[in-house]
Amino acid sequence: MDKKIFWKRCMSTLAVTVGLTLTLPGAPLLAADKVVKIGNIIPLSGPSATVGEQGKNAREMAVAEINAAGGIASLGGAKLELVYADSESKPEKGVGEAERLINTEKVNVLTGCWNSSVTYPTTAVAERYGVPFLVPVSVADKITEQGFKNVFRIAAKDSWWTRDQFSFIKDMSAEFNTEIKKLAFVYENGDWGQGIAGNWVKLAKAAGYEVVLNEPYPSTTTDLSPVVQKIKRSRPDVLMMVSNAADAILLTNTLAEYRVRLKALISSGGGHADPSFIQAAGKSARYLFDIVEWETDVNKPGAREANEKYKKQYGQNLTGEAVDAYLAMYIIKDALERAASLDPEKIRQALADTQLSDGPGMIVGYDKVVFDEKGQNKEASLVMVQINDIGNGLERITVWPKSARRVGYTPVFPKP
């Protein structure tokens, strides 16, 4: 009789298995004529949902503009259609969604995924099916170093952020005749922080700086005074930081509390670039240098207008991530115009041949989008901003490279 129980249990389970699997919808929807489908895998829920939301808004704004201007002329005025998939910042969800977008939604191009950990495995799926994948932002170097033919990245990669931070230190110490010898590194102990700090150590060694402190901390911490004590004791000239939102504020305030004297503080975007940072850290944040991809005061035609429009529609300023997502849509439009076909290989080739230097999408800080043989945008560059109050309250002012510096502003260096 136990056998019977077993059979029965097996049956009931199997019956349900099969019943459910068979009822799954099977037939993919046929794409309507004259539509180019762009699949977007971004974190719409979970810990990175706010960034995902910004990316979604920026994409929608760009696609609305493109479609209003007549769509893709070389494809008979085909309209762009956005299809979204939520990755929840989880790699396995991103992979599943990529499969679905490619096989069921039949998208022509994919974009995403912001989280580097989602972008790695997801681009591998696109590569396997030969679907072009445009990555607006996912900074890990590795993404364009997998030997994939179908993956293109707009944003600057990890190693460029750190490279530019060191160029900045060198340029500033020359410009203001201040000697910089000792560096301290303090960073959150996640993927991002450790990746950047690893590069810092190499660059510092190559440039002959002395690293007096190399200190990771968990970004969920509620007390950073031990870390700050260490910074104070090690007497660095420059403190370099990688922080998420809450810990950026805590670190800045604790540094002010302990009156740590430094020639400069340099942060790496993230928490220091968050709009809430200036509000919460207030005066303690003054004179901080932060590296970003884009700032609202960037000196490019159309940038101010695009920001105004975005702010009106979505109630926020554009961010570096949003600008890259916005630009991604215009890069796709440009490639489609030249490809004049929905054949994935033709689109891929057109993306590889991209030489975009004008149009509404080009509101980034650099002049041209060109992908190298690995698919990395060669021209992507970064800017340094300084947080200062020059009569309008604390604001972020572009200071580096010198060509992009806000007219009439002299950076405060070293920190008084």
């Binding site: 009789m1 059979w7 249990r9 097996c10 389970t13 719409l44 396995e92």
Partner: protein, 370 residues
């Protein structure tokens, strides 16, 4: 002990509700005829045939992917069930074993070129050792304390892996995780271009774990576990070595869970601490077990069959319209099931199934009489 037929060890309920399965089971024996057995043999064979033939019909990799994940979670939950269901404790850190399995096989194959199939077994054994080590001190704890201890251990492991680039000669690559380059396809490398091989591997693993669960449920160990979970004092007074039975269950459970870790690594070709040793994953396993029915053979499978599609399809259809809604739907289902079916959905389903079978056997009897 084994002779006590009505004490179904899998139904972790108290006294009066000693399991609808065993009650109706004896009904059939009373009737003397066996239409049930005949029916069940036939339909089981048919279902196995359908399960094995599914990839031939379901050509879309999208849905095959979803089904593979359903089986994967069903497998994980069934492995968890040996401790979390039978032994009556609530382990909430099983992602540790998934992590051990995934990292062991991946490191062995990336650094030493050892086939993941071998790495799978090594990971399983390693994970078994860790499982026993956790079990030794923690099984003495009761209720929430055991759950908390397992959570703490899992989180500790995650933080450790996130902060270690190297563990001795082994490259863990810290928080950046490990990526398996999709280069060497083939059975020996546990890497395939299509989804079908993965489907069959996880299907066979799932059937294996279900059969094992069934064997345990009928064995002395199953009764020991059940007794120890229900009334540890009474069981110990009768001479049952409760702690030892739980340890054996933990060893099996951690071994099997680690195998799933290797499967996951080879299926997604990318592992990192936040996705594989996360509390989210541990909790999801527990949720599936609670919804499906803890301590029953079918429970984990039913739970996975209900929750995974709900989570996937609500994400697909609502993910962009109303971000986060799918998580709300997931939560609401969880609450509803907990309120109306605290013993999981396996209970009403088995009842309905039994009614159907009874009617069937009655008809058959009537036919014989006429």
């Amino acid at each position: 002990m084994t002779g006590n037929e009505t004490l179904a060890p899998l139904d972790n309920s108290s006294g009066s509700n000693a399991g609808p399965l065993s009650v109706s089971g004896s009904k059939v024996t009373d009737q003397g005829v066996n239409p049930r057995k005949k029916f069940e043999t036939i339909s089981l064979a048919a279902l196995l045939l359908i399960a094995f033939g599914l990839p031939l019909v379901m050509r879309s990799p999208t849905y095959l992917h979803i089904v593979i994940l359903i089986y994967f979670y069903a497998y994980l939950t069934s492995s968890w069930n040996m401790v979390g269901g039978f032994a009556g404790v609530l382990p909430l850190g099983h992602s540790v074993f998934i992590g051990v399995g995934a990292y062991t096989s991946t490191i062995l194959s990336l650094q030493y070129g050892i086939s993941p199939w071998i790495g799978m077994l090594v990971g399983g054994v390693l994970s078994m050792g860790i499982g026993v080590l956790i079990g030794l001190p923690t099984f003495k704890m009761r209720g929430a304390y055991f759950a908390l201890a397992t959570i703490a251990f899992a989180e500790g492991m995650r933080v450790m892996v996130e902060n270690l680039d190297f563990l001795g000669p082994f490259n863990l690559n810290g928080p950046r995780g490990l990526q398996i380059p999709p280069l060497n396809f083939g059975f020996l490398n546990f890497m395939f271009k299509g989804k079908e091989p993965y489907y069959y591997i996880i299907l066979i693993m799932l059937i294996g774990v279900l059969v094992l669960t069934w064997i345990i449920s009928r064995s002395k160990l199953g009764y020991y576990l059940n007794a120890g979970g229900e009334e540890p004092e009474a069981a110990m007074a009768l001479g049952v070595n409760v702690a030892r039975a739980k340890l054996i269950a933990m060893a099996m459970s951690s071994f099997l869970t680690a195998l799933a870790g290797t499967f996951y690594a080879q299926f997604s070709l990318f592992i990192h601490p936040k996705s594989i040793i996360s509390l989210d994953l541990s909790f999801e396993i527990a949720f599936i077990a609670l919804i499906g029915g803890r301590g029953s053979i079918a429970g984990p499978l039913l739970g996975a069959l209900l929750l995974r599609p709900v989570s996937d399809f609500s994400r697909i259809y609502f993910g962009d319209v109303f971000p986060g809604l799918h998580l709300v739907i997931f939560g609401v289902i969880l609450i509803l099931v907990m309120i109306y079916q605290p013993r999981g959905i396996q209970e009403p389903l088995t009842r309905a199934y039994n009614r159907f079978i009874d009617r069937l056997s009655k008809e058959e009897q009537a036919k014989e009489v006429s």
